[in-house]
């Protein structure tokens, strides 16, 4: 049985269909890439999964249980962590406090929460900046803080929204290493990414969408050679060749 399943997900904003009848599954320990041009509905899908937006129709199932309509914080407590494309650090708090606040999701005492936070910060290479206010971090640090915070809630499934966007090439490589390490720890991952180096090397399978609809699904090679995907990204001239 799949760890996580999206069934016929549809989200309409008034007359605009942002996500149209999308279905996919994530198995335990798997990394699924979600790709598509700008405005194709990737982030909307994320916002539907953790119920920032109520979904119009369809169902979302996690560990055999429907999480449709469940409160956002409940979904996190069940084991789905997420990061934001437009990072949302708790700006005036230190990095340590950011991660500690998240760690309280699983533990109640401050000593335990700090321990979890230190563990996660070491994992994400944030210990050196732990006492700095989150707002003082450069974008690379903020992206890692997003991941660290999500990890501190001890998720079984992690939703990564453009974690590598805006990073330098070195930082992108570090991000790839970090994501690999997360998977080795048994966390399944759903990742949105535009940087092909990341998505092609990391993903076990890729799900491509455009205008809210599924256009291809399969291994990275299959999807990269799919005419519909090439057309969506490069225009129909390239798709013919």
């Amino acid at each position: 049985m799949a760890l996580f399943e999206v069934k016929n997900l549809t989200k309409k904003f008034g007359g605009l269909v942002a996500v149209n009848d999308i279905s996919f599954q994530i198995h335990e320990g798997e990394i699924l890439g979600l790709i598509g041009p700008n405005g194709s509905g990737k982030t909307t899908t994320f916002n539907c999964i953790n119920n920032f937006f109520p979904i119009t129709s369809g169902d979302i199932i996690f560990k055999g249980q429907s999480i449709k309509g469940m409160k956002t914080h409940k979904i996190c407590q069940l084991g789905i962590g997420r990061t934001f494309q437009v990072v949302k650090p708790l700006a005036r708090l230190s990095v340590l406090d950011n991660v500690t606040a998240a760690a309280f999701c699983r533990v109640n005492s401050i000593v335990e929460a700090r321990d979890v936070a230190h563990e996660v910060m070491e994992f994400c290479n944030l210990l050196a900046v732990k006492d700095r206010p989150a707002k003082s971090l450069p974008i690379g640090g903020r992206k890692r803080l997003e991941i660290a915070r999500a990890l501190a809630t001890k998720p079984e499934l992690l939703l990564l929204d453009e974690t590598a966007a805006g990073l330098t090439p070195t930082e992108v490589d570090e991000a790839i290493e970090l994501i690999k390490k997360i998977r080795e720890n048994g966390v399944s991952i759903l990742i949105i990414e535009h940087i092909m180096k990341v998505i092609m090397t990391m993903s076990d399978r890729i799900h491509a969408i455009n205008f809210g609809q599924t256009i291809a699904t399969g291994t990275p090679e299959e999807v990269a050679n799919n005419p519909a995907v090439i057309e969506a990204y490069l225009g129909e001239d390239y798709a013919k060749g």
Partner: protein
Amino acid sequence: MKKSSITLLIVGLFLLGFPLAVHSNYYQHLLIITFIWVIIGSSWNLLAGYTGQVSFGHAIFFGVGAYTAGILVTKLGMSAWWGMLFGGFIAMAVALFVGWVCFRLRGPYFALATLAGGEIFRLIATNWEELTDGMVGILIIPTFRSKLPYYYLSLGLAAACIYAIHRIMKSKWGYYFVSIREDQDAAESLGINTTLYKNISLLVSAFFTGLAGAFYMNYMGFIDPEVVFSLHYISIMAILVGIVGGVATIMGPAVGALVMVGLQETFRSSFFGLAPAWVSQGHALVFGLLVIFVIMFLANGIVGDWEKIKRYVLRRKAFRI
């Protein structure tokens, strides 16, 4: 021992010994009023400063606490001291309702809703004459003629309130409160039940404010809706105490209370009788100027910007040499 604990010890001993050294009822009264404001300011700070839910309606909880104590006497024939037990809890019950209505709104809309809420409660207290005696107010005979019991009780309450908030801010609750302030959506996605924790913050805040109200009834012996449900003298003053002292600092509201009560009294008494009587009308103007000054130069309040103040003073001294 740390420098801050030594300072705290000295201030504590000073306040404990003060009424034994200074027998003046007048100065004891001023400190009692200050302690009441320490409680209200700290409570407001928990909700607005730490949790980021700026309330313009803290008079609701102060008034409800005061009227609970008063009505226990006039309607039930009990001692007003029972108000110290019930006042806080009735204020919490009211807060549950206020939260249920106002927390549907965020940011400035929440602030406006609490502002309206405060006025609604003032009007209820004015017009529900069967219960509150309306504009006539409630008059009771205070238990003690000496100020000493009131002094130590209010000092104890203020210290307990500060300590409680200090402990809360070092716990899971505290982390959740500031997370909500910084980014409510991020907080939700980190597994924080923002609705629940905003309500917890409001309830704790209302409890202490209600307690302060009940104490006020016992101490002053007289309340009416224009006093305890006042927008200017309670709700806005609570905000001023918080802002001047330092929002989201533990000791900020205490310092703010001292400054604001001191300033208010200086003007009310026309500089202790040294200035012409019309000066007493000027306190609202001075409050306004003070807030502008604090926001422009000490955005984090006296406590929050203490280092900045120290640097400035030291630099001035260096220049003189």
